[in-house]
Amino acid sequence: DQQVKQNSPSLSVQEGRISILNCDYTNSMFDYFLWYKKYPAEGPTFLISISSIKDKNEDGRFTVFLNKSAKHLSLHIVPSQPGDSAVYFCAAKRDNAGNMLTFGGGTRLMVKP
């Protein structure tokens, strides 16, 4: 099942710089997208979400961009901090599918001091 794909398994960024994590999806029925962060031995933690009626949502250092025509979304973290080092999951849902989330494979972000 490759409905949600994160093509970069890992990303390394210098502290203070921008981190850009990408996510692609194939199912045009998806209308709500979420980003979760996961530390080892912990469950996924919600970061930020975006509805398909928007193309941008911002929350502090985190901004999610949605390009519906390209079926692509990205998470920008500015400025990146060492504490941001974690695995980031993109997830998507269809409005008529309750809250069944389809997850991407995750991208491991490493922010170097």
């Binding site: 996924p44 919600f46 979400s49 997830a91 309750g98 989330l101």
Partner: protein, 114 residues
């Protein structure tokens, strides 16, 4: 901040045995979920539960799986006869309801089937 709690954090069992994974969702939440992540693979949806019944389930959630909310606070996942391929990290999650889309996840139970 309120959190979803899961017990045990690790469970080791023999193939063919029954296991029960336990979760205490956030107290005012109405929707409950189980997800799992096999090592090296994606997080996968198993089942959602609302108003004391299953509202949605995936192909993974076959007759060997069941969920229950035995009292006002616990939410359990039972695997009747475990298989080697059931080895995974199992995450419980809950959601408040209404227009809130945010799922809160527990820390997971690592199930190892030998």
């Amino acid at each position: 901040e309120p959190e979803v709690t899961q017990t045990p954090s690790h469970q080791v069992t023999q193939m063919g045995q029954e296991v029960i994974l336990r979760c205490v969702p956030i107290s005012n939440h109405l929707y409950f979920y189980w997800y799992r992540q096999i090592l090296g693979q994606k997080v996968e949806f198993l089942v959602s539960f609302y108003n004391n019944e299953i509202s949605e389930k995936s192909e993974i959630f076959d007759d060997q799986f069941s969920v229950e909310r035995p009292d006002g606070s616990n939410f359990t996942l039972k695997i009747r006869s475990t298989k080697l391929e059931d080895s995974a990290m199992y995450f419980c999650a809950s959601r408040k309801g209404g227009s809130g889309e945010k799922l809160f996840f527990g820390s997971g139970t690592q199930l190892s089937v030998l």
